[in-house]
């Protein structure tokens, strides 16, 4: 099993940390992982993206031009990465702020209104964990106990009291995600 994922959105949405928590959870479950962020001038344009690979085998290139899954959190990222999803792959988006929805017919498309939900709950910081929950519902790459360990490893000790809240957000995401277009 190898899952190649791009997570893309605005800086500040927790794109990089979502990727890190997923990757660290993979490490705790004894998978091979890589986490390759955009950095430098790309970041300064306001967009942030990270390529995460979780695999049972040694990982070859950490840099990819097509992905099994794209998690899309803003319009620029949809424009850039919709075409990069492999045929038969998965695209997850948050409709908040999108002016154009995905159009591909050869991939599975799901929507998750995580931004709305996080703001309803007054917990904008766990927005990214709601999205991660949605993804894990569709692709249970790592088991909840390892997500817990991944959170422990990724978050500084002073934030460990927030782990239950993060786990709750993941559960919310699992029930919030809904299919928009399925290929079969």
């Amino acid at each position: 099993m190898t899952e190649e994922i791009i997570i893309a959105g605005f800086g500040g949405q927790g794109v990089l940390s979502m990727g890190k928590i997923l990757a660290y959870s993979g490490v705790m479950q004894n998978k091979e992982v890589s986490w390759m962020p955009s950095y430098g001038p790309e970041m300064r344009g306001g967009t942030a993206n990270v390529t995460v690979i979780v695999s049972d085998e040694r990982i070859s290139s950490p840099i990819l031009n097509s992905f099994d899954t794209a998690i899309i959190l803003n319009q620029q990222s949809l424009d850039k990465f919709e075409k990069a999803v492999k045929p038969g792959g998965l695209l997850i988006y948050d409709p908040n702020g999108l002016t154009r929805l995905p159009e591909r017919k050869d991939i599975n498309i799901y929507s998750i209104a995580a931004a709305d939900e996080a703001s309803k709950l007054g917990l904008s910081k766990i927005f990214n964990m709601i999205v991660l929950g949605g993804f894990l519902k569709l692709k249970p790459l790592v088991q909840p106990e390892y997500i817990h360990k991944g959170l422990e490893k990724s978050l500084p000790a002073r934030h460990h009291k927030l782990i239950p809240e993060n786990e709750k957000a993941i559960d919310i995401g699992k029930s919030l995600i809904k299919a928009v277009h399925l290929i079969n």
Binding site: V27, G40, S61, L64
Partner: protein, 360 residues
Amino acid sequence: MGELRLMKGNEAVAEAAIRAGCDGYFGYPITPQSEVMEYLMAEKPHERTGMVVLQAESETASINMLYGAAGTGKMVMTSSSSPGISLMQEGISYMAGAELPAVIVNVVRGGPGLGTIQPSQADYFQAVKGGGHGDYKMIVLAPASVQEMCDHVKLAFELAFKYRTPAMILSDGAIGQMMEKVVLFDPIPRRTEAELISQNPWAATGKPKTREHIIITSLDLDPAGQERVNLKLQAKYRKIQENEVLYETLGVDDAEYLFVAFGLSARICQKSMDLARAKGIKVGLFRPITLFPFPEKQMNAIGKKVKGMLVVEMNAGQMIEDVKLSVGCSIKIEHFGRFGGIIPTPDEVVKALETQIIGG
């Protein structure tokens, strides 16, 4: 098994230095390697092992602090990225001339000049052919993963002290910035003063009454003396060439074609190999791990088994010169590269193999 962590390449370099028993780090911040010193400052190794971490006023100062500390037999390291490494060349040449061990990490970014902060491999010539003046070589290691960023620090220190010569880790912005699983080796205690003195009789550790002064210099105004220094250095480099070559091959047993690549490019080529093999193209990968010593004999041997080679580098064609010198002109050897911070994609590497080598 050692401790398991998810780390950036730059962080792995820093943690590995502490664990290798490094005595001192001197550096100056520059993207994309600033996490090396950031990690060290946050980790406060002075409290863990007594290791000194110092931000110098410039790269020129860093390398000269390294020069001074190395002269006392201490295990010392600096890191920088391309423009900063250019500033260090004088000091590196002096250290090679004075036969001093040290580890220098170059997390390469696109050049020339200030260039860009994105990853590149355009400092191959500078690292391997001697970026400073005079006939000298550095041992050059090319990690292709975060695990190797960690392991190569330990290896670089071992080789630097074994041969009393500066060793460089030639990485790039992507390997520095990306996170991967890494198994950290168990910490090695820093050497005591007594161990340092007994293991490094050449080091300037303070003169007891029982011996003469130790003079460490790269200056000898007598040409005959300076020629002897050069002959000694060349003999040492030949010994390194004979004994320390490291490389990795993948899928070469049935290969008709070969990718040759180091560092990040080799990782990309692994993916390209899978894509090409899915199309029925029998291609393997040769990855030099030591760039000096270059795996000359091994490349020559494999050159007799394949029809053609594509040398993939994030530069305009540098390592290809060493590949051609090793293999000769009997088969087709071409270069494919992207420059200035652009990373080639696995697809375009396959296309280059098809057009430049197979169909070319």
